[in-house]
């Protein structure tokens, strides 16, 4: 009987869930552990890892130049997130109120730009905002400005790039959450005397909060670690955490420092997830 139980239950489970489990352990768990490990190691002459325990890399994070970058990255990611939520929520609301057929088409329309190459889309902003580009020309023609303004390689443009890249990720979870809102709840609220605004703040907003929180996570965390947007639109002048990490493994060789910064990102991520699971009270994270 025991032998049969193995054949019936364990073997199929192993065959089906085995490959994915193995992959996750080999290519996610182990590398992450190793990175955390390296962050506590010392830097050798050539930037590689010397296996001696040291807090050096973490101390460097508190060094003013690096610290400034970290704070700036968090600030930019934060602003990007807030803007995405503020811009995205009404949009999600509008779509959610449409009949299902139309809504799914509208959602599809949001996704299409996402299927174009992201770098080329960023490049488009560059083309538009470059010194001799259409925006500058328009502004000069209309008389708002006298000479071309250097939009490129600024934090502002980088933020624009991030917002346009992240907006679909903000809209989808909020749309999903708003769409699930039962119409009868809104009707009950109105029946009991609440105005549209009151219903929104007392019923709609709190009940769609899980969706908002999902959006926050889906926008804030990638924004922290971004480096393509800064590369394309920042031209080396705008550097955030993502760029610094990349450089530690490229031109400037300092693996432990890169690892430490990575650990910082992991910690911030973990913190947000922890808050999410605690307050949004959802066991299974249905992200997208």
């Amino acid at each position: 009987m025991k032998k049969n139980s193995f054949k019936r239950n364990t073997l199929p489970a192993l065959a089906m869930a085995g490959p994915v489990s193995l992959w996750m352990i080999l290519f996610v768990t182990l590398p992450m552990l190793y990175i955390i490990f390296i962050s506590f190691m010392s830097r050798g002459v050539f930037g590689d890892v010397v296996y001696e325990f040291s807090w050096e890399s973490y101390k460097t994070l508190l060094d003013s130049t690096y610290f400034k970058v970290i704070v700036k990255s968090i600030k930019v990611a934060f602003i990007t997130t807030i803007l995405c939520i503020l811009i995205g929520y009404p949009f999600a609301y509008y779509i959610a109120k449409k009949p299902k057929e139309a809504a799914s088409k509208l959602i599809m329309l949001i996704m299409i730009p996402f299927w174009t190459n992201s770098l080329m889309r960023l490049n488009s902003w560059l083309l538009l905002f470059q010194t001799s580009g259409p925006v500058n020309n328009f502004l000069q023609n209309v008389g708002f400005i006298d000479a071309p303004v250097s939009f490129v390689y600024t934090d502002g443009l980088v933020m624009l790039g991030m917002i346009t890249n992240m907006l679909p990720f903000a809209v989808l979870p909020m749309y999903s959450s708003i769409e699930k809102l039962s119409k009868s709840l809104l009707e009950a609220s109105a029946d009991l005397g609440a105005s549209r605004g009151t219903t929104f703040f007392n019923i709609t907003l709190p009940l769609t909060f899980p969706g908002i929180f999902s959006s926050i996570i889906l926008v804030f965390i990638p924004s922290l670690g971004i480096y393509t947007v800064t590369d394309m639109l920042g031209g080396g002048k705008v550097l955030y955490i993502g760029n610094i990490i990349k450089n530690q493994f490229g031109a400037i060789r300092n693996w432990p420092l890169g690892a430490a910064l990575s650990v910082l990102l992991i910690v911030i991520t973990g913190l947000l997830i922890f808050i999410y699971t605690r307050f949004a009270k959802i066991e299974d994270m249905e992200v997208v």
Partner: protein, 275 residues
């Protein structure tokens, strides 16, 4: 017959909503539009508009660096999709159905590549590969892509498996099919839409990926996005615009065709029944 105040208010709100949405859609589509327009730019580098030409579309295929990287990207994307969807499908079914020790752990691990910034994942894989001496190249990039595609595939497919599916599997076994036959004849067809979504998602994620492909690349070849990134400093040539324009047109056409075919089949079936 005058319109009530309430209806007027609703119409106004609807109007504002529509205008707002159009603005948002515009912001999302402007970069796409610009990308397509500048593929017709009569100039070597896309600094400013210099007249209309279609030459880049024909010159596309003579740019060897471009076509090679395109081919490289497509091969990786196809392989990544096949591997990720296979592992992801059986993984999703297995994780949903069976209980085992460490299941919670694996479920949590699956969310890490989705949530944690890609640069961290890429760097972590890089140091492991260098430590074990794995040469960087197509293999390492492929592993990197699969590592974020598999979780997306699992999450997508898991979402499509409903409780009903268990009784279907039991019915199949009751009628004499063993586990493998049941999986092929009953389970797979019922989750097929999820599998297709997962395949589409994996493909687009892989072909558009920059971070993993950049960090885990070997010395020789680079994927298309990495090539574009490296061209940024000197300026991106319009033939790249032409290529990416063609790519998005193919994808959108495929989607529209897919929808059309589905609708035609539905209509035909309705007519068959009426007869």
């Amino acid at each position: 017959m005058s319109i009530s105040k309430k209806q007027k208010k609703q119409r106004r709100e609807e109007f504002i909503g529509t205008v707002y949405s159009i603005i948002i859609y515009s912001i999302l589509y402007i970069p796409v539009f610009v990308m397509m327009v500048f593929s017709f730019n009569n100039q070597r580098y896309n600094y400013y508009w210099n007249g209309f030409t279609t030459m880049w579309y024909s010159k596309l295929f003579s740019n060897s660096a471009l076509t090679e990287s395109l081919w490289y990207s497509v091969v990786i994307a196809v392989l990544a999709t096949v591997i990720s969807v296979t592992i992801g499908t059986i993984g999703a079914v297995g994780l949903k159905k069976y209980e085992f020790r460490g299941k919670k752990f694996i479920n949590e691990m699956l969310y890490i590549p989705i949530i944690v910034p890609e640069i961290v994942m890429a760097v972590a894989l890089l140091v492991i590969f260098i430590k074990i001496g794995l040469a960087l190249g197509m293999g390492s990039i492929l592993i990197g892509h699969c590592t974020f595609c598999i979780p997306y595939a699992v999450v997508t497919i898991k979402g499509r498996i409903s409780g009903d599916d268990y009784s279907l599997e039991e019915a199949s076994m009751d009628l004499g099919a063993n586990r493998i036959q049941t999986f092929i004849n009953v389970t797979l067809p019922s989750i097929m839409p999820g599998v297709m979504s997962a395949a589409f998602l994996s493909f687009t994620l892989s072909i558009d990926d920059v971070v993993m492909s950049n960090m885990l690349a070997g010395a020789k070849n680079s994927t298309l996005p990495v090539l574009i990134l490296s061209m940024n400093k000197s300026g991106i040539t319009p033939d790249v615009n032409a290529l990416t324009t063609i790519m998005i047109l193919i994808i959108v056409t495929a989607m529209i065709l897919n929808n059309l075919i589905k609708n035609v089949l539905k209509k035909r079936k309705k007519m068959e029944e009426a007869i």
